[in-house]
């Protein structure tokens, strides 16, 4: 998987369409690459896995899992992966590491390792540094998620943080699960204050603590009720032996996915992906040329739903160049 072959986006896309999970590492190497020809090849890859090429949306369930550091996301994911494997679903986990230093380097996998059977080729785990985007999603993660969604049954994007990260993950994932520490009231306060968007599933970790976890479940349900967000499931889980709540969590995630207008969510995801790529490439000046974030989103909403990410990005570039965005000249 080295050298030129790994940089052939169309070929990688074709193998993903055959649900060949073995190319996952090569796909990640490509989408992370900033080599001169990599961007073109990445566009080829995204074209090859677009709904137009597939004739449908990619079949995977894209799940975002986010929460504060130390809440036990890695142990939870170890248990979730085991649960999905029992149901014979293949799983790709993309973890986004927030550590970013002035050296540019990052320590990955330092958090408790996600424990899986190393011989199981239907499980893929890859960590990526968030780079300069503090707490945000690296552009490669968006591309990787949409590509791997063609070959895997489940694609998980794991991010760290509370209050912002779930908004970004919601732009990519079909279902967003926020993991909450029992005795910490952060999420509760953020929800009440409207700082945080209501997630699709709330997971209360460390249910083995007993009362504090039960208390957290009750408080969160009450807060959701007050906000009128009755559809958000609240599940308590424990990852320490013997694990509990994992099957319920999988059911809650499945239920959300079943109730979802998948095409609308994926369409929005592609548009936000294109906008994020555009913003990464052209920065604030580029966004201003589009009349700002909101104007750009409105503009994207008018575009052909069949466009893949690369096409949408070109459309944005043309619009920025043409100078006929609503706010140009201001």
């Amino acid at each position: 998987m080295s050298g030129r072959a790994a940089l052939d986006g169309a070929a990688l896309g074709a193998r993903l369409r055959e649900r060949d999970t073995a190319v996952a590492a090569a796909v990640l190497n490509l989408v992370e690459s900033r080599a001169p020809d990599a961007r073109t090849q990445c566009e080829e890859l995204l074209k090859a896995v677009s709904p137009a090429a597939l004739g449908a949306e990619a079949p995977a369930h894209i799940v975002g899992v986010t929460g504060p550091p130390g809440v036990g996301k890695s142990s939870l994911l170890s248990q979730l992966v085991a649960g999905w494997r029992k149901l014979e679903r293949s799983v790709a986990v993309l973890t986004v590491d927030p550590t970013s230093r002035r050296s540019g380097g990052a320590l990955l996998g330092d958090r408790a390792r996600i424990d899986v059977d190393p011989r199981d080729r239907q499980v893929f785990v890859r960590s990526t540094a968030a780079g300069n985007r503090l707490g945000g999603l690296a552009a490669p993660t968006r591309a990787a998620a949409s590509a791997l969604a063609v070959a895997f049954d489940v694609v998980v994007i794991e991010t760290v943080g509370v209050g912002q990260s779930e908004t970004e993950v919601a732009d990519v994932a079909d279902t967003v699960a926020v993991v909450v520490q029992p005795a910490s009231g952060d999420v509760l306060q953020f929800l009440k204050a409207g700082i945080m968007e209501v997630p699709d599933v709330l997971v209360v970790a460390k249910a083995d603590l007993g009362r504090p976890a039960q208390r957290a479940v009750i408080d969160l349900r009450a807060a959701l009720k007050a906000l009128g967000a009755m559809s958000t499931a609240v599940v308590a889980v424990s990852s320490v032996a013997p694990p509990t709540g994992i099957d319920e969590l999988i059911e809650a995630l499945d239920a959300h996915r079943a109730s979802l207008d998948l095409e609308a969510r994926r369409l929005r995801a592609r548009r936000m992906h294109a906008l994020a790529d555009f913003a990464a490439e052209y920065g604030d000046a580029g966004l201003r040329a589009l009349g700002g974030q909101r104007a750009a989103e409105r503009f994207l909403a008018e575009q052909d739903p069949g466009h893949d990410v690369a096409t949408l990005e070109h459309v944005l570039e043309q619009r920025a160049d043409s100078g006929d965005s609503p706010s140009s000249g201001h």
């Binding site: 590492a25 080599a35 230093r101 050296s103 320590l107």
Partner: protein, 670 residues
Amino acid sequence: MSHGPSPRLPEPDRPWLMRTYAGHSDARRSNELYRRNLEKGQTGLSVAFDLPTQTGYDPDHELARGEVGKVGVSIAHLGEMRTLLDGIPLDRMNTSMTINATAAWLLALYAVAAEEQGVPEDKLQGTTQNDILKEYLSRGTYAFPPGPSMRLIADTIAYTVTHIPKWNPINICSYHLQEAGATPVQEIAYAMSNAIAVLDAVQERLGDQAEELIGPVFGRISFFVNAGVRFVEEHAKLRAMAQLWDELGRDRYGVSEDRHRRFRYGVQVNSLGLTESQPENNVHRIALEALAVTLGRSARARAIQLPAWNEALGLPRPWDQQWSLRLQQILAYETDLLEYADIFDGSRVMEGLVAELVEGAREEMARVAELGGAIEAVDYMKGALVTSHRERLRRIETNEQTVVGINRFTASEPSPLRAGADGGILVVDPEVEAECRAAVEKWREERDQGKAKEALEELARVARDEQQNIMPATIAAARAGVTTGEWAQTLREVFGEYRAPTGVGEAAALPAEGLADLHEEVERVSEALGRRLKLLVGKPGLDGHSNGAEQIAVRARDAGMDVVYEGIRLTPSQIATSAAQEGVHVVGLSILSGSHRELIPSVLEALREAGAGDVPVVVGGIIPDADVTWLKEAGIAAVYTPKDWDLNRMIRDIVALVAEHNGLSAAMSA
């Protein structure tokens, strides 16, 4: 002119217990070694167990591969404990066992073997190390999560205080903290915080009996400390610990009897400062370090074991250990050390040093207490240790701190000590592993299966019930012929498994001199590669000594690499799968247990199977010269040993290796 009290003691003191940390291969070979050591004048035993025994795996378990009998003796069941202690009078012996996660089990085997010799429990004297916190922080041979681990410790203490009253059920270890880079203040503070966590847990365990038993419990808790070559400050450290321990007993636990509050410690002097180059110099270092723990009578060690001159090279041979024992004997029997009262009594310099350390330690203890105590503060302490260790390395690299033979006075004649056919170290017979494997299989076949099964079921039941003490069921399991791996596996199923924090994420970035160039090279190579240079640092096998791997990981990060480090105790296939999936450009493996000949080829094979066979691999660890060539022939790109202390040079090599491997050499020199 009037004379004060006589400076001489009416009678010279009795010497401390003299031990040698020893054990390798199987029970029979280690028993022979112990008998010879005792004949040479050693007065106590110090049992070194191999890593499978320490982490609770039988010799035929996958994770035990390459590790059986390597860093200590393999003890899988009662029969082997019998053999290990054969002919050694346990009613008179004082035995220290370096055993932690599986301490309750090895203590049970020891007690049953003694009972078979006709020695009752209340006659037994010795120590089980049994300190789990430093395993999370430094040594890595933990098996269970913190909660159940603290329960096992509390159970053994509660059991011994009533049944084996002359046993030290726990050695609170600051030794390994210094090995992990702790400053004297950190060493004192973390050890005391650890003791508080243990005592609080025992107090809870004792319930109604706590008030009556806390004095004897406090009195049975001993420490296992380190002594570095700055021996004046190191001696002050021990006086500071004695002072804090006395205060802790009186103020926090209300221990009224003076004898219960006495600070008792054993010591193994520093290994971190021993060097591979000019290894004969280590003898001088060890002698000076021994002074740190013997000079002042009021803070003198109760038991001493000294490392051998060749610890940085590999396993010491019996002769090397004899040389270290002779050092203790000269100090105790030839010098006048034991004839005087405390020679620092009234010394203003010593008092000042002690006061400084006590004050610093109090501040650091308060910080740990604020975080919720030692167990809750593991992440914080681990990060602080990694940072201190890095500061130490930086000072050596920049010549701020002199290490003779390393960064000053490096010209040397060839050492005749290493000229022998064995290269100056002990090599464990490669047949040992197969023998132990066969022996445990035979043992399992020949025992009463019904009894063993019953004992394990009872053990599981007791483990699930937090109100019960684990010791009686453990002793019953020992009698029923249960194996080490079965005992631990039963508890793993009830308690769950655990991975400790690596501490590398918490380590703050220090402005390291000389990194600018390195950083530039990493950026240039990363750009040419298309993505950031990515390194996987892996620790295969059971060896938990992660300090070296952590320092490489942190330095590579500071130089600008993306570094995947997932902690200790990974199988070759776990490492290979991570390397392939993470898309790393290079793999660095660290092994200090001597199992590189078995494990490295397995990792290479697993990399090929995972489709990452073309990723270059470098190895670091305690690797004898003879094996360096062998590893290179097996396909390893570079081998680093303790004489390669310059981290920046190593990182530079790794960058160059990746560049060359990807055909970028020209870009580098452009």
